[in-house]
Amino acid sequence: MPQLNLSDFYTLLPAFVLTGWASMLLVLDLFIPRGSKGLTAFLAAVGLGLTLGITLVQAGSSSLGFNGMVVLDGFSVFLNALLLVSGLLGIALAYGYVRRMGLERGEYYTLMLFSVVGMMLMVQAADLIVVFIALELLSIPLYVLAAFNNRSPESEEAGLKYFLLGAFSTGFVVYGIALVFGAAGSTSLYGIVAAAASGAPTLLLSIGAALILVGFGFKVAAVPFHMWTPDVYQGAPTAVTAFMSSGAKIAGFAALLRVFAVAFPSLTADLTPVLAALAALTMIVGNLIAVSQNNIKRLLAYSSIAHAGYILMAFVPYGNPQVMPVSVAAGLFYLVAYAVTNFGAWGVVIALEKEDGKGLEISDYAGLFWKNRPLAIAMTIFLLSLIGFPPTIGMVGKFYLFRAVIDGGFVWLAIVGVLTSLVSAYYYLRVVVTMFMQEGEPQAASEFWLNFTWGLTALVTVIVSFVPQLLFEWASNAVLRLF
């Protein structure tokens, strides 16, 4: 058995640093007085920034660590960076929000950091054991965060639901891992693919893989594992929802992609139809139910479900070696597009949310354009981006995504995709209609970091749509280490 060396630590360095920082912050927070928890937020952000720096330094390197348990590759660097940026955006959104809602406690930020660590570990996991641990590490803080507003029954309910169903789905993952282990005799992704090549029992393997898929499908809110999403998104504090809807989704998809592309390429024939069906179902159901929502948080929750479907489309041709790099790049690009847009949209929701939890109905947005132009324009940009309309990054992302799907030969899925995005236009436009074409007196909070967040994300959403080249290159270089 080889000795651990520095390279092992280097492979997982960002996660280590962030874990250390978070632990330190947990202690440090005890000494920060109640009124100045802004300092905790600042320190958390510094930690994320530091880690982001390290991650960027890692760009271009590729290594296995801890006896093949974790892996560092372009894929992980790209997603780690994205997760860290999400963390930063999450803190920026939360900073004023928790204060306004009276939730300002230091643990909020610490928990976020731990969750980010879990997500990063998930991205780097090369062994199902690590996948499992990472899954729990990212989930448990999120359960707590969802229930963070202990004065709100909704928040508690959200936490409980998320917890119970999350644990339930974890059971499937674990059992799936057990079956995969039984079939392949290894939990290492690279070991599994080797075993599958040398004739492991396919049925057992594919059942195991399917159960793992269920677990991740739950995390990314794919239909029919999505039902917790609207309730939890609605009940959880909005800043948490924003973070959760991006971060958990990114991590879930990252693990899904790595596990399936690395470990189960031999199961393509079995799993591709399942993935395709899940993607189609998710797009259809998510978009259709969203049509009749009146609460903006639920609307965005269903939109989040629907987008899980779109991203899932990128995974459908995962077993086709010609298309796989394109589809991974498309998936990653879309994750970025979704994360940016999503944070922006939730930012606007936070700006309009009142201390008493009001201001979350779509009708509360009436006349926003005439009261607060920048905010309404930003929201319009986000909604257009979610529809996939120019000039936004969402349009470029969909373009890329559909291209990958068509390239993979799934024209019917692409048709489902475009038709459901047409459906989505219907409900997103309702919000636009409300903001521009109806009369009302909405009041929006104006907090620096909040404004900064939605302003920045709106700018990025538009500008990157014109100069997507760089992001394209990063996404295409974010290749998976397959062996």
Binding site: L160, K161, L164, L165, F168, S169, F172, L203, S206, I207, A210, L211, L213, V214, G217, F218, V223, P224, F225, M227, W228, D231, D270, P273, V274, V285, L288, I289, A290, V291, S292, V423, Y426
Partner: protein, 702 residues
């Protein structure tokens, strides 16, 4: 361009009236504010039209100096696409210059007449500012007519063809806010619309003929078409037949032939100068001109010629029968015009192009004369009526208990005495139309009948009867209008028209008297024939046939006698029904009501079209397509689907129903699902589980 005399002036045929109308548009408003404004406007218009006449004369001289050789005067390119080459090019030959002379000559006379007529008309109708508009339209008409007759291609001709249709629309609807009696009504504008649309139906035929022509003969330009035609006639004679027959539809529209003649009687809603100029002398003869112009096509296909001839002859007779039963002085003339146009179309159909053109010219003279004189009569009655209204009743509140119709012959009678000048002018016109020697109408009509008698006995028979009826209804009219006693106070107080009105009439009367001299059926006097020969290449110059001439003259005289017997001997009394009513019974009913053709068209086409378009618009497009399909089906399905998946259905019932279904499979699951109905977290978990079951099921059993 080589030196071709005055050919370079050709564009001024069009520009002169256009300049006139532009002056009147721009300065007319200012003119109207001056005391001499009307005269100025009239003068500008007359000068513009007169200038066109002068140019026509010069051009005719140029053509004759070039020994009838056709001259083309290119002006500008129009539409050039691939092999399609349409130009604004004027064509000067004996045929076109003849038409130019008639149009601008008669046109100028009518312009002069209109100065006086409209002066009074706008006052009777209480809208003096509209005076200006009339002359703008009239000049526009001359311009369009000039384009029609001078174009070197079928499409340039078509520009004029539709252009005069527009002018006709504008002028019929000149008093667009009233009916012919001056009452507030849609009637006049309906008549205008009817004319335009009916003409457009004809234009449809023209267009199709044009398309065939272009794709089979390769051009729209007259010479090129005629050059290519014989070869095509050799290969596909059917195509030429189609071209000529579709062209006939156009002719039927413009020259008011069966079945599209119905607009012309209604067109009498226009002021009388318009009726004279457009709906008698010039525009309606465009169809005759078109066929004459296309002689080289028609000559190739005798079948088509026969159909044209029969259409013309049929129209001639049919319209003549209706004319017999009319009471409105202008309506009689209108049907007479249709009938006479039938004569012309029959003539050109038979290949007697010179006869047709000859009749066209003489008809322009005497029918313009008749219409204008009728206008004078109407004005006379209006004056009488006006006189009464002001002096008889003392006050004039605008609401007559009984609306007075100055055009109704039943209100006339005895005008011989009150309007002597007009009477004599009218008589000349009548005799010319009736075909009495030596008036112009006799010579031209006789030539047509002669041709028909030689080649087309059927046509001859129809035309002869029509000629008899012509003389009869004209006789009836003259007796009713000018003889007997006044049947209305207005007629008794009718006043003669001023010189500005009667002077042009005298010129026209002279022409009606002497116009026959253009083409006398004697050796050496076939002037028109020889002149047109340059363009038409082969014309037959027939000597006078005493038999034919005798029969027609005899019949005309007989008809006049019969009319005297019925209407002259015992003049009509006020409110007395027409003496023909009793003996003819239903037949007269038919004549009186235009054989119910309008009603038939209305029932069969117009109302059906309205119904269909209402049905399409209200039922198909809006009710079904917009509301049902797009709203209910598409948008509805959309919302319905979304609701199906919504919490209360899918998130609860849908899943539960599915669970219930599974529940029947096993007792245990059934027990579980019963309790499951009020548990949300658990139904979410169920959903997850169902997903697992389905996926695993697929993997295991696929």
């Amino acid at each position: 361009m080589e030196n071709h005399g005055f050919a370079f002036l050709a564009p001024w045929l069009v520009f002169a009236p256009v300049v006139g109308l532009l002056i009147n548009i721009i300065l007319g408003g200012w003119f109207m504010k001056q005391p001499w404004g009307e005269k100025a406007i009239g003068a500008v218009a007359v000068l513009a039209s007169g200038a066109a006449f002068v140019v026509s004369v010069l051009l005719a001289y140029t053509v004759s100096a070039a020994h009838g050789e056709a001259l083309t005067v290119p002006f500008a390119q129009w539409i050039h696409i691939g092999t399609l080459e349409l130009d604004w090019t004027f064509r000067l030959d004996s045929l076109s210059t003849t038409m130019m002379l008639v149009v601008s000559g008669v046109g100028t006379l009518i312009h002069i007449y209109a100065i006086g007529y409209m002066h009074e008309d706008v006052r009777f109708k209480n809208d003096i500012p509209r005076y200006q508009r009339f002359f703008v339209f009239l000049n526009l008409f001359i311009a369009m007519m000039m384009i029609l007759v001078s174009g070197d291609s079928y499409m340039m001709l078509f520009v004029g063809w539709e252009g005069v249709g527009l002018c006709s629309f504008l002028l019929i609807g000149f008093w667009y806010d009233m009916d012919t009696l001056g009452r507030s009504s849609w009637a006049n504008s309906n008549a205008a619309k009817k004319a335009f649309i009916t003409n457009r139906i004809g234009d449809f035929g023209f267009l199709i003929a044009g398309f065939l022509m272009f794709w089979y003969l390769g051009s729209f330009q007259f010479d090129q078409v005629f050059e290519a035609a014989p070869a095509l006639a050799h290969e596909h004679p059917g195509i030429i037949v189609l071209i000529t027959l579709f062209m006939l539809i156009g002719v039927a529209g413009k020259s008011a032939q069966i079945p599209l003649y119905v607009w012309l009687p209604d067109a009498m809603a226009g002021p009388t100068p318009v009726s004279a100029l457009i709906h008698a002398a010039t525009m309606v003869t465009a169809g005759v001109y078109l066929i004459t112009r296309s002689a080289e096509l028609y000559t190739l296909v005798p079948q088509a010629q026969y159909i044209v001839a029969m259409t013309g002859a049929g129209t001639a007779l049919f319209a003549a029968t209706i004319a017999v039963g009319q009471y409105d002085i202008k309506k009689v003339l209108a049907y007479s015009t249709i009938s006479q146009l039938g004569f012309m179309v029959a003539a050109v159909g038979m290949g007697a192009y010179v006869a047709g053109m000859f009749h066209l010219i003489t008809h322009a003279f005497f029918k313009a004369l008749l219409f204008l004189s009728a206008g004078s009569v109407i004005l006379g009655l209006e004056r009488g009526h006006h006189h009464l209204a002001h002096h008889g009743h003392g006050h004039h509140d605008g609401h007559h208990e009984e609306v007075f119709d100055p055009g109704d012959m039943r209100n006339m009678g005895g005008l011989r005495k009150t309007m002597p000048v007009t009477f004599w002018l009218y008589m000349i016109g009548t005799l010319a139309l009736a075909g009495i020697v030596p008036f112009a109408g006799f010579w031209s009509k006789d030539e047509i009948l002669l041709d028909a008698s030689l080649h087309y006995p059927g046509v001859y028979a129809l035309l002869t009867i029509a000629a008899f009826l012509t003389a009869f209804y004209m006789g009836r009219q003259v007796w009713m209008v000018f003889f007997g006693e006044a049947r209305h106070a207005a007629a008794a107080h009718a006043e003669e028209s001023p010189l500005i009105i009667t002077a042009p009439l005298m010129v026209l009367a002279a022409l009606s008297l002497l116009g026959g001299g253009l083409n006398l059926p004697f050796e050496g006097f076939h002037n028109l024939g020889h002149w047109l020969e340059h363009t038409l290449h082969e014309v037959e110059a027939l000597p006078l046939n005493l038999q034919v001439a005798g029969i027609s003259t005899g019949l005309a005289l007989a008809a006049i006698f019969v009319s005297w017997w019925l209407y002259g001997r015992n003049p009509l009394k006020a409110k007395q029904p027409d003496p023909l009513k009793k003996p003819l019974g239903l037949i007269f009913e038919g004549m009186e009501n235009k054989w119910f053709v309008d009603e038939g068209y209305w029932a069969v086409f117009v109302n059906r079209y309205v119904d269909i378009s209402r049905f399409l618009a209200d039922k198909v497009d809006w009710w079904f397509w917009h509301d049902i399909f797009h709203e209910k089906v598409i948008a509805g399905t959309y919302n319905w689907l979304s609701n199906v998946f919504l919490n209360d259905v899918a998130d609860q019932k849908g899943i539960d129903a599915f669970a219930n279904f599974l529940g029947r499979a096993t007792q245990w699951l059934s027990a579980a699902t019963r309790k499951l109905q009020n548990g949300f977290v658990r139904s979410y978990a169920l959903s997850v589980l169902l997903g697992v079951v389905i996926i695993l099921g697929y993997l295991i059993f696929k």
